[in-house]
Symmetry: C3
Subunit: 253 residues, 3 copies
């Protein structure tokens, strides 16, 4: 940190279990990745290549290499997993993970219907090959899952071998954990936290107001995801009480 400010909350350091930041890359060029890493590498724990963007990205292998050399793990968005599954090409998906040297993968059912048992079976299978992130919540804003079911799903998926579970919000932050307006489903989040350890959850929170809400509820070291590359610095100030929204939150006044 550049200045000797007192009363700054202590941040975890890499490799983190808490205070984790997952960034969404939805098509960066090599130089754009380098620029992002210059400012934000130490604050970024993992990068998701958003949904199935990796399918059409011409510079995919080079991108993976740049992230690897910076020590930042990368995974393909869950929509890519679902695109293979819905086409009965799951085995090919597994081969592709190997082919590209992926060490993480996401299992999700945001865009298709999947029985919980089947989802857990995918998690079990992939967990033998990679570290699995499992996402709960639909991308369909009309599909409201009640809190007890979120908890049931998250528990089952962690038991099946997911390293962490992700609460769905999309790039826009307007489904799953959030209402269409972007407002947090507060009761849902609080109830989940009574049953699932906070370090096992990554909350997708692309909007600033959502990040502020989670930092205030869980603390500086909340795990959040779907952060835009150019918002990681801002997020870090929110975590530390150095943006207006959390300015007095960590102070003993």
């Amino acid at each position: 940190m550049n200045y000797p400010l007192t009363q700054i909350p202590e941040r975890t350091i890499k490799p983190r279990q808490k205070g984790y930041t997952m960034v969404m890359d939805k098509g960066l060029s090599i130089r754009q990745i380098e620029d992002f890493l210059e400012t934000s590498a130490s604050y970024t724990d993992i990068v998701k290549l958003g949904w199935a963007t990796s399918f059409v990205t011409p510079n995919l292998k080079e991108k993976l290499a740049v992230y690897k050399s910076a020590g930042i793990p990368v995974y393909f968005g869950g929509t890519l997993f679902e695109a293979f599954v819905i086409r009965n090409q799951f085995d090919e998906y597994r081969r592709i993970l190997d082919q590209f040297g992926m060490e993480y993968a996401e299992v999700s059912d945001g865009s298709l219907e999947m029985e919980q048992d089947d989802k857990c079976e995918y998690i079990r299978t992939l967990a033998q090959q990679v570290t699995v992130l499992s996402e709960v919540g639909s991308k369909d804003e009309a599909k409201i899952i009640p809190p007890y079911k979120w908890i049931k799903l998250m528990k089952a998926e962690l038991e099946a071998g997911a390293w962490k579970v992700i609460g769905e919000a999309r790039e826009g932050g307007n489904v799953g954990l959030f209402r269409a307006s972007g407002e947090v489903r507060q009761g849902l989040v609080e109830e989940i936290l009574t049953e699932i350890p906070e370090e096992k959850i990554i909350w997708e929170a692309p909007q600033k107001s959502q990040q502020v809400w989670f930092v205030k509820l869980v603390g500086a070291n909340v795990n959040v995801g779907n952060i835009s590359p150019n918002e990681v610095i801002s997020l870090e100030t929110i975590r530390l009480g150095l943006r207006g929204d959390t300015f007095t939150h960590f102070l003993n006044l």
Copy 2:
């Protein structure tokens, strides 16, 4: 494409008449153009230097050279044409097109009043010099043009020599084809498509929900415009059914 996914809609390839993507550059630097081309050149058919940004762009000649060497045509936004016309400087506009080696130009009346005959005369004149894109629709959200008149205008402008017609939406996607909320004027679009061949129209659709709507209505190879440089990869996944919004649209389930 990086993976052997089945049931992916066939995309047209360059030079395209359909499936055309027009990108809006509103002030990129040289390196930012290079970064954009690294990821998106094969998906980008033409670039518009938005409205009259080219007037204040210090690196204009260099920018044109970079796009030219990538084989991507460029044109000045229609507002620049209108800025010359409203000042009675149309002849100077024609000289400037030559001076900068432009091969395309836009004729529009989004910010001024112009009789249809006059607009068609501008199209006829410019069509002797460059390939003309002609835009229909006002930038004034209060000015609602009824569908039959959109069709009449489009037909006349194509007959006058426009290569394609553009449906106006601005950078924001909140006028012309769209309501102030960004919602598509569905009846308008459907009625236009009964009379004008889809390959002759470029629909300005800067918002994701608008792109999704057009891909669902017209197909993977709809012509769209005013796409932000960093959204071309996303658009390509929407076209291919590889983003949540169009995930099952092209599948035989």
Copy 3:
């Protein structure tokens, strides 16, 4: 300017007292700064490192050096000043300004309560060390300051030694000068302008509609701030009547 268009309002040139553009850098990399300067250096009068982002920016010294070599002054956002003040570390703040060679500083009370006399004392003290920008207005959208009080504060702060006063709007443009919807508090702005010379005020106006509103009210050479680096070119066209929104504003038709 690239073309000989007539009836373009005359823009002031650097160093400007009017027509001033303050840009917000909220975490740019070195190359991103270079890219921004390539297109926008001549239109950018000063850069603010937004709120306390400079605390977590790993490349701070290099960034300051790049701006310095381009002749563009830089200052730390007022939230950093407030973060030191609320911790009773104001003397350390003064040392840090020296340590980083800062020639400008902001005094604000957007995130804390501060008596006007105390604020003016901070201004007086800092004005002996640097050029002071003083910000009026709260970041709390519930805190509505009536116009007469804005004027009283601005006058007192200018008398205390502030070089210019800034009207608060945040990065979002939804507090202070603006309603939560982003709409301008028109009566407030007009009343301020009856008492404070326009060249002494910088209006934070991050949204395009806000920039348009101020250009229409004050003119091409209004002082505006919190402009995103990639919107400076757009702002310049708005100032010159070369975007739809101000297209006819400066014309004698």
